[in-house]
């Protein structure tokens, strides 16, 4: 359980790092566990966590 939580935290920390696309688009910096520009990763995460998805198109 602890290992799974640590893996999730690592994933979220990764997701918070602004990638080259976010930087180059001069987009604002979202806070918290956002998945940036990767819908497939979002669906995979929703399947794994059994959470619903909230997708913002901006």
């Amino acid at each position: 359980m602890k290992a799974a939580s640590a893996a999730l935290l690592a994933l979220l920390a990764f997701a918070q790092e602004p990638g080259p696309l976010q930087k180059s688009l001069v987009d604002l910096e979202p806070k918290g566990p956002w998945i940036y520009g990767d819908l497939a990763a979002g669906f995979a995460e929703a399947k794994k966590t059994k959470k619903p998805l909230l997708v913002v198109f901006r």
């Binding site: 080259p20 696309l21 976010q22 180059s24 688009l25 001069v26 987009d27 604002l28 910096e29 979202p30 806070k31 918290g32 566990p33 956002w34 998945i35 940036y36 520009g37 990767d38 819908l39 990763a41 979002g42 669906f43 995460e45 929703a46 399947k47 966590t49 059994k50 959470k51 619903p52 998805l53 909230l54 997708v55 913002v56 198109f57 901006r58």
Partner: protein, 361 residues
Amino acid sequence: MGCKEIDGQVARREAQVSDLMDQFVTVRVVFANSMDLSTFQFDTGLTWAVFFLNADKTIYGRYGSRGQANGSLDVSLAGFRKAMEGALELHKGYPGNKSSLAGKKGPSPRVPVPQGYPGMQKFPPVPTPGDKRNNNTCMHCHEVNAGEYKVYRSVKQPIPDNVLWTYPMPDVLGLSLDLNERATLKSVAAGSPAEKDGWKAGDAILTLEGQPIVSIADVQWVLERAKDGAKLKASVDRGGQKQPLTLSLPPGWRRKGDFGWREATWASFRPDMNGEDLKPGERQTMKLSDTATGFRVSYVGPGARGLQRDDVVVEVDGQRSGITNFSLFLAHVAQKRMPGDKISLTVLRGGQEQKLQLTAR
């Protein structure tokens, strides 16, 4: 003006919404390149739109609405919170409620991805890293909206009403919804179809055509797919009691809306100009009846030489009646004037009528 404020509030997960947002997997998408138009069918004229979905792509609801020039007036953080509550309730009841959600996904789209629209093949699957947002590789949602126009314009066919007045706001039927609720009536316009059908202020729409409603955008989704003459079935909460209602859609109901705010019109058929409704009392002063053609020119670009700001257009291609606002003028151009055609206008300038011509794009 767009939706920068609410976009920032949600992106920052402000305290008013963070507890509910944490119950979702949150994804931010800032380009429309290769968007799956089969799953993500929404008003692409919006600058900010939200989907609530299950991992299996079943749609719980949509959030994000716009029916006027100021894009921030039809959304609120409180309304967004209410929509999230609704989506989470639906997720809790899933898959038992799956059949009621089937209508939230539309039929197969015209093209599977935006690159299928005329003139949009140039966009790569994703924007090229290192480029800026307003470059040639980052597709904006409004360009998808323009793609729909180009399907018709590129073959010199009239753009139909349901494409021009797309995703109608409930106001066109007399339903003014409270921005801070899911879909609760703030007021019902006197003499409107909704009033005639017995709708009352305070009614909270629970379902429309059997679909659970979590937002104004969900109401728009149902309206978008409805035909003239339809009688939509609704269930509302009125004073704590469930009550069935119908919502009648009279012929031409969409035409009461405003689509002059749509960025996509600039990239397709709009002459290089903007317009606005005449203010109350102005028609009387100018001796124009309520049905007389008339709108004010509020902006003129280089492509509309001859026009001047504050000109009042009183005749379009010989029509002195019927074109009572700027959206109806744009519809005239989109449906009756093909690229290269002349558009004849008579304008009131300094109390005198002047005739001029524009060339349709």
